[in-house]
Subunit: 335 residues, 2 copies
DNA sequence: TTGTAAGCGTTATCAG
DNA sequence: CTGATAACGCTTACAA
């Protein structure tokens, strides 16, 4: 192991000078700096992470908090998480930060995992990959007033000086897709959700309402619970409002589910489908689904950048929206 | 921040004794140990990770190396990775290890990311989530003879004292699914792959061959490249061997692709499908696909355990197989 | 069984 | 601009 002392010796300076060269300190002559830098090259030196962290009393580590495996969020969106993580990792490794992970089967396990990180690791940067009201994990982290939290998602109830949000503008997305359908000639869309208590689904519905309102169309929604009765509810909804000719589904998975239900019900008429997340599922379904790309990689990158940017400029951006884009496919080719 | 000195003071002992109590050192009386432990509780003490790592000259960190985003592996199997990662994280956090991540768009970027970890972080445990021959990243890690490498996958060319493998027994899986088809009454299966240079696909084909051989049936395979010509090749293959009544596809994604091609070709006869990975895709396709569950979470857990177990028992397991299971669905309900 | 003291690699303070 | 020195929190000979 080559230390800063070795570098100093080779360059003929003291360790403190070597350290200054390492950190581009202004109080150092260009000449010696160059000399030290060359020595570092030659010895292939790199500073010891633990030693730095010890003396600076910080961890240079950010923990990514994944939703508990048991939570409903986990289900469809897996690839999604992977991409967010990659976005985060990419900017963190540029900044010389380590990325750590916290997971758990239950919320309790997750909490334990986070506690370990907070204690022994002095991790004081957290990026939550979910937003949940009354989240004990978030509350535990927030006990530490120093900790910086970025939440990928949105939640009005979590206001704190050192908590920021990055998210898709789901209200706008909901409005955009509805607008899109109406422009394509569809007349009466129906919003399909699985759980309105999820902020994402609720926001998308709000957007749906807004768009539909502005066209003086009434806003209907149907909640599907993955129970056998779903089929009947869907049938009834279609009977009740026979003008329904398109669906706005809260995510790709749900859209596919509706398509299967319609197959079961032998409803053959061509209805429009639009959904969210633009996962592989959407592309592969037949008919391929028009879906909203939400750029999870960007979401991750931006979340991580927020962590560092905070130092640079004191801009107090509490919430950042990542733009989305509708990817048009067969399911909205009006026949 | 509460340090070991605070604990020592409260317990009325020296820091070294406190340290001994922390580590269950045998050279300490039960009485004092208890006293120290109580002090730790009271102060809610937890050791400083950086300080420990500094003095012990190790990192207590394992890095998960994801495949480069550009590589073909990334494509279908996303959810899969997430689950492996969760398995790894779960055992690592139990062991007090930190989990770090290395990613990159290209292999070069990934290499850079890994280099950073190796240098400043002294990470000396790596879990690769892919196996690739002539992998510059693996080679870079192997420069360090101390580093422990676990590879989730299989690769004969990477023999090293401190490199171990965890994988599904893909040859057996290939054989099992083929056997399964034949038992269901299918007569002539065709193996579909996308790239035989991928070890996974090749192994599965080997198993396919084995099973088919033992029934005195000839082994055919077809390679699809996601090009427009695929459709023609498939048609020709079916013409050439009109007895083909089932497909063994190298993964769920490929199976779905074949189904779409057949739809295009207007081939309506009911053919059998079996594929691998049992991703959400398999469950949602219509007809739902019979697929091989490979238990990615277990794969991850086992990979991580191998890292620690090595200390405990000196068993020189170079390769570990995680059992798989066929999940039967509509696509193999012989009509 | 316990305490003392040195040192892990780095940085910050202060004196030159 | 540069160098000595003292920390950071912890472990581990070595002494008692």
């Amino acid at each position: 192991m080559v230390t800063i002392k070795d570098v100093a010796k080779l360059a003929g300076v003291s360790p403190s000078t070597a350290s200054r060269a390492l950190h581009d300190n202004k109080m150092i002559s260009p000449a010696t700096k160059a000399r030290v830098r060359k020595a570092m090259e030659e010895l292939n030196y790199s500073p010891n992470f633990s030693a730095q962290n010890l003396v600076k009393r910080q961890s240079n580590t950010v923990a990514i908090v994944l939703p508990a495996r048991e939570s409903p969020q986990q289900l469809g969106n897996n690839p999604f998480f992977m991409q967010i993580i990659q976005g985060i990792t990419s900017v963190c490794s540029q900044e010389g930060f380590m990325v750590s992970l916290a997971t758990g089967k239950t919320e309790d396990e997750l909490l334990a995992s986070v506690r370990v990180l907070m204690k022994s690791g002095h991790v004081d940067n957290f990026i939550f990959l979910y937003a949940k009201v009354e989240d004990t994990v978030y509350q535990a982290v927030r006990q530490n007033d120093e900790a910086m939290c970025i939440i990928v998602g949105h939640d009005e109830t979590k206001s704190h000086e050192r908590t920021l949000f990055v998210d898709t503008d789901n209200v706008k997305a909901g409005s955009d897709v509805t607008q899109f359908l109406l422009e394509r000639g569809y007349r009466q869309p129906l919003y399909i959700c699985t759980d309105m208590s999820e902020i994402v689904q609720e926001s998308r519905f709000k957007g749906f309402q807004k768009a539909v309102d502005s066209h003086h169309i009434s806003a209907h929604y149907l909640r599907l619970t993955n129970a056998p009765s779903d089929s009947r509810y869907l049938e009834e909804a279609l009977k009740r409002t026979p003008t329904i000719d398109a669906f706005v589904c809260c995510d790709d998975l749900t859209a596919i589910y509706v398509i299967r239900l319609l197959e079961q019900l032998k409803i053959e008429q061509s209805l429009g489908f639009i959904s969210f997340n633009n996962s592989l599922l959407a592309e592969l379904e037949s008919p391929a689904l028009t879906s909203v790309e939400i750029f999870p990689y960007d979401l991750g990158e931006t979340a991580a950048k927020l962590l560092f940017q905070r130092e640079a400029s004191k801009s107090i951006t509490k919430s950042l929206w990542i733009p989305h884009r509708i990817v048009e496919r067969e399911s909205t080719y009006r026949r």
